[in-house]
């Protein structure tokens, strides 16, 4: 029984982590909390839904949806954040700007798809055969989701460490002015950051939609707020923190359900988050000192 719970926790945590990584990447590089991230998450899920319904094979639909999410991320920056950067508007104004874009994206999705729950119709997800591996039961889709999420996060980590683009991103995150002075092309790096963060968020959205075989306009709402708990726990701006935090929150949620406290699950998650903020706002991997902005 415990192993099944562990698997469930890993599965849930992996998607949370994948979502949170995009959140924290943008925060780490630009000090912006991008509240449109969840809207992009949702948009990608719908995109994959439509593409599959038109006959595109799922793996390709996944890639196209994630890429589309990445492009929306770049547009998001151009429209809502870049003008504010130019006039030095601080960190809270972009937050509100991102809410504006989120409202627009969700409204458009509602307009196109309506408000009812949608499903991935011709993939046979609901009748997928259950695989038994010892004490754990899962479907091929679930395993794929888990492995894919982990692979994506590993790829991101590698990219940030070992590629020139990754170094540029880390430089901008550390000190924007210095990075620019050292020749890093700021706007291009920022655009790349948004592409990556949003593509990962979109990927999380498709996986989330597949996991529960449900895509609705407000599927992003709970995860948007849980994502906050994840990045606070892990440390704002820390990729490792987002991953670790995602799995911890996933574990906390599964554990809460296992001990019969499932209706209190969210209160426990946010209670943990609140406690972290009061005691150690930097989270597990964040900077030691309280950020003053």
């Amino acid at each position: 029984m415990i192993f099944q719970q562990v698997f469930n926790g890993l599965l849930l945590g992996a998607v949370y982590a994948l979502f949170a990584v995009g959140y924290t990447l943008v925060f780490g590089v630009l000090d912006i909390l991008n509240l449109a991230h969840a809207a992009i998450f949702t948009a990608a899920a719908f995109a994959a839904l439509s593409l599959c319904a038109k006959g595109m094979p799922l793996p390709l639909a996944f890639l196209v949806a994630a890429a589309m999410a990445g492009i929306i991320g770049i547009l998001l920056d151009r429209v809502a954040f870049a003008p504010l950067r130019r006039r030095n508007a601080g960190t809270l104004v972009p937050l509100i700007s991102s809410i504006g874009v989120a409202i627009i994206i969700i409204a458009i999705l509602q307009g196109i798809y309506g408000v009812d729950e949608q499903h991935f119709s011709n993939l046979g997800l609901d009748s997928a055969p259950a695989i038994h591996l010892g004490p754990v039961t899962f479907t091929a889709v679930e395993v794929t989701i888990l492995l894919l999420a982990i692979v994506l996060m590993l790829v991101l980590s590698w990219m940030l460490r070992a590629t020139p683009l990754g170094r540029s991103i880390r430089a901008v995150a550390a000190d924007r002015t210095a990075a620019a002075l050292l020749g890093v092309h700021l706007e291009r790096t920022i655009a790349a950051t948004f592409f990556i963060a949003s593509a990962l968020g979109g990927a999380a959205g498709v996986l989330f939609g597949l996991q529960y075989n449900s895509v609705t306009w407000d599927m992003g709402s709970p995860i948007e707020l849980k994502g906050l708990a994840v990045i606070i726990l892990g440390g704002m701006g820390s990729i490792t923190g987002a991953v670790v935090g995602g799995f911890i929150i996933g574990a906390v949620e599964v554990a809460s359900t296992a001990v019969g406290l499932s209706e209190w699950r969210d209160a426990i998650t946010f209670g943990v988050m609140f406690l972290i903020l009061v005691v150690r706002p930097a989270g597990i991997f964040g900077r030691r000192s309280l950020r003053q902005a």
């Binding site: 909390l33 429209v79 809502a80 003008p83 504010l84 508007a89 601080g90 960190t91 809270l92 104004v93 937050l95 509100i96 700007s97 809410i99 504006g100 874009v101 989120a102 409202i103 627009i104 994206i105 969700i106 409204a107 458009i108 509602q110 307009g111 309506g114 709402s221 948007e224 707020l225 906050l228 708990a229 606070i232 704002m236 209706e263 209190w264 969210d266 209160a267 946010f270 209670g271 988050m273 609140f274 903020l277 009061v278 706002p281 309280l290 950020r291 003053q292 902005a293």
Partner: protein, 288 residues
């Protein structure tokens, strides 16, 4: 005259909504003026709504009494919340208060016997009529206007502009933050109680992050340091969905577009048009 009477009859619910929304927007603007992005107004609103509804339904308290009790409760809760978050600034304060709001939502959903759980409470006496709502709005506006002439208002502005320099001139920043949060809680409580007594039915989903975002949008569009702006922002965005019904499912798009337009082109909100200052005041951006 009959035109007005007909107009009112057709739109009375909307008119009431605008009044309540304006009060809620004012409650947030109080926090924002002190430089605190404290996003718990929806939670305070919800707590007060439930308190006043429960008192009215179970204990048959009269309207004014249940409203006052609700305001006191939400104000005390706000003051208590201010204590653990006193060291948090900017985004961290915002997130902590959002988390608080979610915890409140879960409690409202789970304390079935008290709150009716997810189903909510219904048959709340609708005795918060239009005159009551707008009377309350006028009282709040008056109170805030009077407050703006006091030293406290100066302390609030100084806390917002530069906390360290404010301490350096003798402002007890901690107390200012706590009082502004408590005041915001009281006003949000008023809004919540009026909301309960003007909508037959309340449920936890009425007071979640979605509602909080709405209140924030009203405030930003009106201009965060302008009470009049907050009221106008609430009014504009309450009327808008009704006015553009013809857009059907794409209605909310305009809300988002307006918000973006304000942020990008008139960051001081609508109020900047009559104040002449296009800059939006920035909540505590200082470094140590």
């Amino acid at each position: 005259m009959t035109f007005l009477a007909d107009f009112y009859a057709k739109h009375s619910q909307l008119i009431d909504q605008i009044g309540v929304n304006a009060i809620l927007a004012l409650s947030l603007s109080v926090s924002l003026q002190a430089g605190q992005l404290a996003l718990a107004q929806a939670a305070f609103m919800g707590i007060a709504a439930y308190v006043s509804a429960i008192l009215a339904l179970n204990a048959h308290w009269p309207l004014i009494a249940s409203i006052l009790a609700a305001m006191i409760v939400s104000s005390v809760v706000a003051a208590l919340l201010a204590l653990p978050v006193s060291r948090l600034r900017g985004i961290f304060l915002a997130i902590a208060t959002i988390g608080f709001g979610e915890i409140v939502r879960v409690f409202a959903n789970n304390l079935q016997d008290l709150t009716g759980g997810g189903q909510g409470l219904s048959s709340i006496p609708s005795d918060a009529t239009t005159p009551v709502i707008y009377g309350a709005l006028i009282l709040v506006a008056l109170a805030l206007w009077l407050l703006s002439r006091t030293k406290f208002a100066l302390a609030v502005a100084l806390t917002r502009e530069d906390e360290y320099a404010a301490r350096g001139v003798g402002v007890d920043v901690g107390r200012v933050r706590l009082l502004s949060l408590a005041l915001g809680g009281a006003i949000a409580g008023l809004g919540g109680a009026l909301y309960a007594h003007s909508s037959f039915f309340i449920a936890p989903s009425d007071f979640g992050f979605g509602r909080m975002e709405q209140i924030l949008v009203w405030c930003v569009i009106g201009g965060v340091t302008s009470p009049l702006g907050a009221v106008l922002g609430a009014a504009l965005l309450s009327i808008l969905p009704e006015a553009i019904r013809f857009l059907h499912d794409y209605r909310d798009v305009t809300n988002g577009i307006i918000l973006l337009a304000v942020i990008l082109f008139a960051p001081g909100g609508l109020s900047s048009f009559w104040r002449g200052r296009p800059r939006a005041p920035r909540p505590a951006e200082t470094r140590a």
